[in-house]
Subunit: 740 residues, 2 copies
Amino acid sequence: MLIVSFSCSKNKTSDAKEDSNSQHPKLILTAQGVKAIRTNLGSIPIFDNTLEMVKAEIDAEIEAGIDVPIPKDYSGGYTHSRHKRNWFVLQKAGVLYQILDDEKYAKYVKDMLMQYEAMYKTLPLHPKTRSYARGKLFWQCLNDSNWLVYVSQAYDCIYNYLSEQERNKLETNLFRPFADHISVDSPQFYQRVHNHSTWGNAAVGMIGLVMNDQELIDRALYGIKDLKLDTKEKDDDGGFLNKDGKAGFLANIEEPFSPDGYYNEGPYYQRYAMYPFLVFAEGLQNVKPELKIFEYKKGVLLKSINALLNLSDANGDFFPLNDGQKGMSYYNSALVTAVDVTYHYGDQDSGLLSIATAQDQVLLDDSGLAVALGIKNGLAKPFNKKSINLSDGPKGKQGGVAILRNENIDLVFKYASQGSSHGHYDKLSYSLYEKGEEILQDYGLARFVNIEQKGGGNYLKENKTWAKQTIAHNTVTQNEMAHFNGKYEIGSQHHSVLNYFSSDNENIQVASAKESNAYPGTEMLRTMAIIKNEDFEKPYMLDIMKVTSNKANQYDFPYYFLGQVIQTNFEYKTPEVLKPLGSKNGYQHLFVEATVKAKNKNSKFTWMNNRKFYSLSTVTTNKDELLFTRIGANDPEFNLRRDPALLLRRKNTKNTIFVSVIEAHGSYSPVSESAANSKSSIKELKVVYNDETYTAIKITHINGNSKLFITSNTNTSKETPHKLVINSKNYEWSGSYYFK
Amino acid sequence: MLIVSFSCSKNKTSDAKEDSNSQHPKLILTAQGVKAIRTNLGSIPIFDNTLEMVKAEIDAEIEAGIDVPIPKDYSGGYTHSRHKRNWFVLQKAGVLYQILDDEKYAKYVKDMLMQYEAMYKTLPLHPKTRSYARGKLFWQCLNDSNWLVYVSQAYDCIYNYLSEQERNKLETNLFRPFADHISVDSPQFYQRVHNHSTWGNAAVGMIGLVMNDQELIDRALYGIKDLKLDTKEKDDDGGFLNKDGKAGFLANIEEPFSPDGYYNEGPYYQRYAMYPFLVFAEGLQNVKPELKIFEYKKGVLLKSINALLNLSDANGDFFPLNDGQKGMSYYNSALVTAVDVTYHYGDQDSGLLSIATAQDQVLLDDSGLAVALGIKNGLAKPFNKKSINLSDGPKGKQGGVAILRNENIDLVFKYASQGSSHGHYDKLSYSLYEKGEEILQDYGLARFVNIEQKGGGNYLKENKTWAKQTIAHNTVTQNEMAHFNGKYEIGSQHHSVLNYFSSDNENIQVASAKESNAYPGTEMLRTMAIIKNEDFEKPYMLDIMKVTSNKANQYDFPYYFLGQVIQTNFEYKTPEVLKPLGSKNGYQHLFVEATVKAKNKNSKFTWMNNRKFYSLSTVTTNKDELLFTRIGANDPEFNLRRDPALLLRRKNTKNTIFVSVIEAHGSYSPVSESAANSKSSIKELKVVYNDETYTAIKITHINGNSKLFITSNTNTSKETPHKLVINSKNYEWSGSYYFK
């Protein structure tokens, strides 16, 4: 890598003899990058537009004047919002100074930093006491860390503009005590593996890189030296403070990411956590390239961005696994960072350029320039999401998430570990999408993030009583209890196990996984497939949930559909009065809207949503009950959406199997008032074989054609040859499943 | 008008001596038009594209072969669908023959017509007996009439291609008996004022024009000569068969359209009815220009299209007044006809060209050519919908519908007559929209049109028990009874009366109307305004409902909001079990989700829908009750949507006033997780004066600014000067209202 000595500051106190470590900027922007950006300005549309937007924003801020208020408010209050705004403004003004070479921006940054310095040196703890780790500018150290992650970039940009005396003043009275407060003075926040700590590590490390302070850099990478914390204490969210004593940025990469780049809390929190991971890594790569941070753990940081992008639907919205707010997507600004950094520091995947084009903005730094040039040069290609299996756990041995895709159908099958304190009790659950629209939904979280009127914008109590509960998910609830009895300590010790994943055959994508710990004594093996068969209009989903238990139980098996009931082949009764289905574990939130005993061998249900039809066919016996339910009981503040479900209930049963097909089909136009292909194409769904080793399902189309799907319940290696006799007919194949 | 003698048929049996009446085509396409179309082909993109699409469609039909099955099915069944398809195919093939001058299309039309001739001459009544007026090809005369409206166009196109002998055969065995069956043989269908009869009239008239048969033309225009029907009989929908003996096409124009062009059943049925009105009028204009049909009743036919287009929201969806299915819009093919014909035969309004551009297709005839040329020549301008007051009733004396618009807010205020058999009991009701999204909804109809699984696609019983009921609408229900006690015979005798309408001031649009008959002894005067005031982010709605009664009643006043509850200033209680609010008149369909006694002088409620915030502020006393309700009780087949409402209940009250403001404000982004302007800006809403003559409302913004709105309850002429003292202060103004 060529290092070009470059400086634009008139006040600079150092000279060309300095080595690269004492050059500035060096952290995110580099001197060489600034030179390249200036050369290309005016001819790189997406970069030019972003720059113009940022310039207009910062010019308006400069016009409005600086405000550094004495901290007093929680999130949403004025002082919180102002300090938050300041960190963005400082970072952007620093960048503008470098790119536009206009001193007014440097002066603005300097003036504001000096006001912070004047205030901070005597500032007590923030007056609000709710946090387990109080900050000084903000009510929690997390936000103080956010501030420093951004402001260290601003400091780097005007470093050479400042006199040595000015730098000493800022470092002595502001940056060093600031870094100490969020680390050595707040070990319960800093010294752990958690997304909060990642922000803390990055903040300390980034200011350390700018100040060339090896002690801070080491503290960032490895945690506070020689400090051990109580491993049993918990934080505000119920997570362990420091379960196994690990800490520091490298440990924070090590633990939450699987080798495939899956982040253990799921995509919603990965999106939040990625910024400090990437921006500190970028700084390390620029200042300490010998660390090879992007190659750490086989390049997991950049792999994780690929995983994250694959964990989004056709609109770029992240699948709401665990606590995830629907609508969060790769249009979030953290994903602009993620896409640009991955493109620049990774292998220049041209698919990323199409996402950057959709985002319509880039970072104003070296990586943003690389993306802008790529787009300008016409290199952008579609980002093709494919079926993918993402292992979970630091070593990829704690289950995972499989995404099966065919045409416009996406199936998200979760067989992961608990997912830290934001995890849900949803072993072997799934959600199903068509072109970014939910067919069967995952509820997501129960929270109106940052809508102050709804519980201050924080997690609502229904997140625990409903959203995390097993019955809120498309999986089996046994005896009306949550998996692991809803206990985080137990759930955290276990994970589901992959049986097999197969996406080799373009027409048949299959994932199969087992859960043995959610209900002691009960084993659940779920095999899910997306099958493209020319007899059907669209690919359909086949779902085989095999339950084996050492005692008789009640199993509840819900389908969280959305939209309106069109047709059933069972005659339900609707009650005059709606009562809750149960009293706890989420059941208290479900109203029963209709009930019936199943009568047919297949129970069928067609619904319509967003002008498209969907049908469920499921194998039932005359002992089964079918219930239409709706969320909303015991919801005294209307915190929950009134969404429906069809629930299949099987009582007093030991071993059993739930077999279902979900078809997406047809459409309705209210303009032409015509309904196309509005009925299910399944004539019959039948379990033709089922033992410990194999399960075989026959799917018969209304045209009479039938297909047989056999799944291996145990021996699933790709090469293994299998033989099976069903109804006197011989079947032979090799691999995990048979389909013909 | 220049008549160009033009003929393209090789087999033509007539010659240039013929007058214009014996030239063909002459009905919709004209000989002159065909010449102009051929000249322009290839240089008029929207026309060329439509032509290409139609050609591909018809070529495929020709390839597939002709099928003219013996009639046997209801709608949805094969023979029904096939004959319906045939009428479109014949009409299009005829047009292709003329435009492309390719005999294969003429031959195809001739061959199919001959098959119809062969079948029809011995065809009995359709075997299905459900209709009050059975057809022969279809189960109801209505569909037979649809067929003839289209097929007469096809016959016109190939008229000169046929030999005289062939024409005689078709006319004698098919067209004349066909016209007789739907008219003289089915007077209960034909001889009335109703959209069904309009189709019948048009069918008879159009074939009459092609055949140059004055008797048929007269029968079409004036009804069956010397025939009087029983005026008390009813049809399948409960409408009177022939209340006052009027019949024929002119009577069908006279009765349902007001002088402003409002169609008495509302836009959904107007859209359905418009095709025969316009296409027959087009034929009359071309063949009998001396009738000046487009000037009939001061040009009401084309005025009605302007009214219809104004009865749509920002997306072009028609407001679902009376029985109206949501999503029906000006993208419906009948509106392609409406827009093109109105442009061509009207005054070439360039706004229509922008709608035609959005429709992305034109008629393949003279009017479609005119539109295509207009678009090609860059004449298209936006179609600006403005505030408009549309009178109802044949003479415009039966109330009306007012639409108040400002920026993106549309208020639809209905003070019309009953609206025939498709009318709802919704006097003085309204619905409110922002940019095509519902803020406060009108439920529309309870029907899944043409979705066979839901009651055959027909009206569901909940249409009567819920959708038509007063409590289903945003208006006052007294003593849990529907307006007119839900009796069509009574409702049909009355209508509301305009108090005043004012849209002169761009910032304040007001409509005020009175209803004296819905509840005998009770008078309701509602004044609604959309007010743009710079203190507020968006225009807000002010609603003043003044109720005067000769006895104490219970008044229920619902707000059918959509979305999620964000905040209230009242502490409601939610019940453990949901019970219906009542047992009849629609109340049996509402579950009570929460209740509370009002405590504040203003009750306030903020909700969020589609990422935007809305707030209601309403004047209450501590005797008022507030209830959150949800539709869905006593709905044994899930025919109703589970939509919420907030219901204000005032018991044991004689005279009263409901005063409310609805604000649209702010937004929420799940991508940036930020909420903007999420709270109401109203500090106080206060009735400062209220008597028989005037009502004055003071609206105070949270910034302290306040406005006074005074409405005149009686003397509302624009010129009248008014004087009023409120709290010792003098107010003087002229006109219907005061706002300052």
